[in-house]
């Protein structure tokens, strides 16, 4: 009785269950199962990131380059026309992706470094450090953050650096609360205790023992915080106290071209209302995209299937 090739063996079946897959293969399998909204969100985010990184190559003109005709109509040389100073609007839109998103990413990163660091510190040390920080955060959160940001900007002046630092500090309060809450659950684990007993420094415990275990909620929070910071910077720029000209930025573009809306009497005047709407829509679409991706990521990591189905 010889063993033929298509004969059934238990070993074959068991062996086929364990397929060693690379990280890329596993990611692809997860991605294939992603819903349409997640794909849409990822496409939007990747497109924005691409535009932001390669802005100088994509943009037809320089960021603050001024042409002779202000408010030029849409044509071949200026796809979306020019603004009141004669700057090409398409170029400003493309550079706006770089400036607005860049500042928002930097701010969110800084907020996570401050808030996450202090949150984990509170979770490990407990005691008076925790009490002091928590009360301080409570007080900071008792003032609406846009109002607080406006007040601080009036004192320190609206420069990009001030903007980043002020919003990062105000936003780190939320990150602090989250990382403290999830860090608390991990800080009481035996292996953290073991790390303390073998004399690891507090930095090691924070980064190597606790951080990897609380990464999923923090990553999701990063997406949401980014949206929030992004909208806040856009609002501040729209109010005229955020990113200052000549830096191209979507919020201030809406502010500068907003008055054109009053000339739009019908859909035939689409140029008038589209010029302020384009940068505003650019802000909105990115936020929706990030929200879609975060929703899907939360669904994946939490294992929650929304409510009861």
């Amino acid at each position: 009785m010889s063993i033929s090739n298509n004969q059934y063996t238990a070993k074959d079946e068991v062996a086929s269950v364990f397929v060693k897959r690379t990280f890329l293969q596993r990611s692809w399998i997860t991605l294939k199962k992603a819903p349409f909204t997640a794909w849409l969100g990822m496409t939007i985010v990747l497109f924005y990131v691409f535009v932001a990184i390669f802005a100088p190559l994509i943009a037809p003109y320089g960021e603050a380059e001024i042409f002779k005709i202000p408010y030029a109509p849409w044509n071949e040389t200026h796809v979306f026309g020019t603004d009141r100073l004669g700057r090409d609007i398409l170029t400003r839109l493309i550079y706006g992706a770089r400036n607005t998103m860049g500042i928002a990413v930097l701010t969110t990163l800084l907020a996570f470094i401050i808030g996450g660091g202090l949150g984990l510190l509170s979770a490990i040390l407990r005691g008076w450090v925790d009490q002091l920080l928590a009360r301080f955060v409570d007080v900071l959160m008792a003032i609406p953050s846009l109002i607080f940001a406006l007040m601080l900007l009036s004192i320190f002046g609206s420069t990009a650096l001030n903007l980043i630092i002020i919003i990062a500090i105000l936003d780190s309060t939320r990150v602090y609360r989250l990382s403290r809450a999830v860090g608390m659950n991990i800080a009481v684990m035996e292996y953290v205790e073991a790390a303390k007993l073998r004399g690891e420094k507090i930095g090691w415990i924070m980064v190597r023992e606790i951080l990897p275990n609380i990464l999923p909620p923090l990553v999701a929070e990063f997406g949401l915080r980014f949206c929030y910071v992004f909208l806040m910077i856009a609002s501040l720029s729209f109010l005229g106290v955020g990113i200052q000209p000549p830096t191209a930025d979507w919020g201030s573009m809406v502010r500068e071209t907003g008055e054109l809306i009053q000339f739009a009497y019908s859909f035939a005047d689409y140029q008038f209302f589209l010029i302020p709407i384009l940068p505003a829509a650019a802000i909105g679409i990115l936020t929706i995209g990030v929200n879609f991706v975060v929703d899907w990521f939360l669904y994946l990591t939490s294992g929650l299937k929304d409510e009861h189905k």
């Binding site: 008792a142 003032i143 109002i147 601080l152 609002s235 907003g258 009861h308």
Partner: protein, 331 residues
Amino acid sequence: MHPILSTLIKRIGLGLVSLFFVSLIIFSSIQLLPGDFVEAQLGQSRTEETVAAFRKELGLDKPFHIRYANWIVSAVQGDFGSTFSGRSATYANQPQQNTSRTVTSLLKPRLYNTFFLAGMTAIIAVPISLLLGITAALYRNSFYDRAVNASALTTISMPEFFVAYILIIFLGSMYQLFPSLSNVTSSTPFFDRVYLTFMPALTLTLVTVAHMMRMTRAAIINLLSSPYIEMAELKGLSRSRVIIEHALPNAWAPISNIIAFNLAYLIVGVVVVEVVFVYPGVGQLMVDSVIKRDIPVVQGCALVFALTYILLNLIADVISIITNPRLLYPK
């Protein structure tokens, strides 16, 4: 002592403490100014005397705690000091030439306008969002639920000025149904005021309804899945009775929190919307003063906003404490 009373006292005390610290932060923020603030404010034409006079007027010759006490006592009485703009070095010793105004005279008429706008929005937005939230929770995972949810997510992601501009294009410019400039004055009759305020109120409604509706839906779904509701359903009670008699008493706390949270959010949203529609409210005053760096006005506005914010949160917590069935019937 009754548990409700002690919890209430604790909560109100906490609110007062946070109010104290917030006022301290707002007051001391002026200390963070780099350089000598008085000299910078008075500019090039300052003299020794004007600097000294201005310093004395601001009370900068006294120690910090006395200045804070003076400031907070007069702020409680409605006096936030006078504006920086209109004050100049040359006229500092001649009061008749000084065009500086008191912050209160600027703040008072605008405060009424802002509360009018926020109140009108709340009257429209709260019932709509509660209705949408409760129905979305009842028919969850249906097409209706998904449609409401998707549109809510979209409006949440849009900046306020985007929504405002879309409304201006359609309602203000193409079909001129409502004015896109809400230039109300103190003598505007009530119905004209409502008409003029309609567009900013609608913008704020669209922005807040989405949020409030999603949170109401989550709160109700959270409740409907608890065992005691299932028990009531198994007893054969009608759906309306289950919701009104069993679910609602426990839902008041989250719902009042949601409403207060969003009214507090309105305060922030009001700033952007007021600027878009040139509505003469506190938000616009604050933004203007930030650009002019007129710090007493900014402080006054920030204090008013923070006070409203803290009070709203306090009221929400008080309502959730009072309506909490667990505290109502102590063991």
